[in-house]
Every structure is written in C-alpha cells, then in structure tokens.
Symmetry: C2
Subunit: 210 residues, 2 copies
Amino acid sequence: MSLPFKKRVVIIEDDQEIRESFNLIVNSSQRFAVVGAYGNCEDAIAALNRDKPEIVLMDIELPGMNGIKGTQIIRDKNSSTEIIMVTVYEDSDLVFEALKAGASGYITKSANYTELLSALEEIVRGGAPMSSRIARMVIDNYHINPNSPLTKRETTILQLISEGKTYTQISEELFISKETAKTHIKNIYSKLQVNSKSEAIAKANHDKLI
Amino acid sequence: MSLPFKKRVVIIEDDQEIRESFNLIVNSSQRFAVVGAYGNCEDAIAALNRDKPEIVLMDIELPGMNGIKGTQIIRDKNSSTEIIMVTVYEDSDLVFEALKAGASGYITKSANYTELLSALEEIVRGGAPMSSRIARMVIDNYHINPNSPLTKRETTILQLISEGKTYTQISEELFISKETAKTHIKNIYSKLQVNSKSEAIAKANHDKLI
DNA sequence: TTAATAATCACCCAAACTTCGGTATAATTC
DNA sequence: GAATTATACCGAAGTTTGGGTGATTATTAA
C-alpha cells in the first residue's frame, strides 16, 4: 500500500472513539494518510519500521509507557519524525517535558476537524502548532522573574557563575578583588539558600533569576 | 483624552512611514488606541508615565537604545505592559534575547492589516503571537541534541550535576561509589573540553545535551 | 537633612569539595 | 575478539565554601 505525495501519519491514542475520529479526519485530507493507529506506545514503536511515519499524533496519558517516554524513543530512532502531542492537559510541567522529549506541537483533544488538520499543515510547513495558552506558557518560560531577591550586582555575578566562570575570572571581569567576588557569592548563596555554584545555577534557572 | 474600553498602545519605530501605517491600522480598530508613537526608546520611556500603555509595538533596530534594552527597561518599570517585537529579523539570537528581555510576541514588519490586529487581539487574549518560524525556533530550542558525545550514563550524571548535586549525592543516587562518579565526571569534562561543574552545565545548556 | 538601610567592596583562616593524573577490572556492544 | 562503557581506587594540588570582621558609598525613609 504505497501512498505517494501523502504524508504518513501514525496515531497513538488509547480512547478508541477519539482514535477513530482522528483517523477519519486525517484520512479525509488529500495531503495525509493514516498508516497506523495504536492504543499504546509499545505497539506503535514495534511497528515503526513498517509504518515509517513522518508525523505522529501522540496522547500523553496512555496505558503502559506514557506519551512522553514514547516521544523520546521515537525521536531517538528517527529524529526527522515530527511529533504532535494531543492531550487534555495544559499543565505546565508536562508541556515542557513533552517539548524536551522532542515534541514539535502541542494541541488539545478538544481540537475539531479544522484545528487538527491545520496543526498537521503547520507541522509540514515547518512550524510548531500550539494553542494560545501553550504558546504563552512557552514564551513566559523565557521571561526573567521580576521579583528576584538579588541585587543587580549579585545578578551579574550569578550570570557569570552560570557561564562557568571561577572566582578569579569573575573578579577579573568585574575589576573587583577575588575576596569581593567571594563575598557577593556568599550573599547569593544565603539568599537562595544553596551552598554551591551548581545548586545556585539550578535554582537560578528554576526560578528564572537570570 | 480618555479612551475607555480601548487598550492603550504605544508604537516605537524609527521609520516614519511604517510608524504612520501602524498608527492608522491600530487606530482603525474599536478595541485599540495609539496613545503614543515614537522614533526611539528614549522618548517613549520618558513619556511612559503619561502614556501608560497596555501594549507596546517595538522595533528592534532603533537609533540610540535598541529595542531589546528598551524592552528590558519598560518591563522593569511596569511588568504588566505587554511588548510585541516588530522586526525584519528572524535571527535566532535576537529572538531569544528579545524574549528574555520580556517580549511576549514576535512578528515581522511585513505584517499586514489583519496580522497586526490579530497579534494585538492575541496578546489581549493572553496568548503569544508569533510567526511560524519563530514558534518553531522557540520549540526547537527545547529539544535535546541527538548528537551528544556523551554516553547514557554520562548524560544521567551531567543531568544530576545540573541539578546541583555533589559527587557524594550523585554516587548515592545512582548506587555507585564516589570514585566511579568522579571517573565519569572526568570523562565528561574531557569530552566537553571543560574543567568544572559550572562550565559543564553551561556547555550542556548551550549545546542542548540535557 | 539626618538617620537608617542596602549595596558594594575587602581580608583572614580552616574545612570541605573538586579536579588532575594515574591504574585497573567487569560487562557490554559491535 | 576488539572497542566501548561502566565500575572502582589513590594521592596531590587547587578551588570553593563557611564563619567571621569591617569600611565606604548609595539610597530611602523619617
């Protein structure tokens, strides 16, 4: 069964009704063809070499392996496969985990006919389909926390720490003594309640202080 | 001049023609009103307390202070002001700098009537207007590099390092001896050509190894 | 305008942790 | 079988951290 000119799509979704519905919608388009529809990642991954999908529509909550782990594995086997998460969750942590795992789009299960197909079109065009809320969540994730407890100087020094600089390098770059750099860093540690550079970096990234 | 129910918009753009054009488009909407249009950030910032904009349309390339620095300053003065970058550049570094500075949207100067207004609407709705390419750039920025020189174990350990863990903590978490953790870390350093935890974290983040 | 507070700078010592340079053996993977 | 990966140990040198002390310069509040 060769399907020239049509993009090969695999659906991984445990709810049979939704799976069938997506199947019909995707197949209704001249540009896409469902080459496999599975209720779990394990089956889908086992069939990957046969299905050779260009695009995967992936649920997050699945029996057995979840969609995030599944995304990791599929991307690991073929990094040119584009994965769109299709989920009820717009919970912050899950979104970022899915993106880190390799997803290129994130839409909700409430997506209708048009939304689903335009997400597929958007992926083919080299874009990244997302709902408004997800887009905002992703953008906000870049923003620096305006309520940082650190002073301007401390923030500068934390920035240099995060770039991997030593006490000596920091002092040279800021034209202050090594001891002064040390004092600032001690104050940073006390404010962030950490006690090493790496911990400070972890906290700074998590709290978006730099 | 009070403008109830209309969102207050400030335009910062040095090309007078474009500035006038945006002015007309924004004012043509019942939902928005331009309360200030400036050719540089300095003037716009000086007038902030009078203009009190809810939304700023900001050019990047400007005489004097550039749009990224301007974004930082405006957000610093009032973090509820939403800033949309309007620019010819879709260059990767500039995009991320603008986002880090506090921008919530990123559209190109080629934006037409509809695109400009729908970007404004999208911001009001709490979204983050972006072109396809920008959205993809942002999403790809989360993806882990599949060409990492590190082994699986080394990647795990680098992950723990980035979480601020010490040698001892790492060894305990992975049920290996402290000396083994040390060996792995030495190998990581040699592969990444760094020689401290913080430098390794910096490189890992930059090269998207974790 | 003074008083208080915050920010920035600087130094000392001891303890703890990290890094460098080796060596070496199972267990896997190719 | 050869190469890679994961495991483990030792000691010396270097860096970082914790606990103090103290001074000068903004900045803010009374």
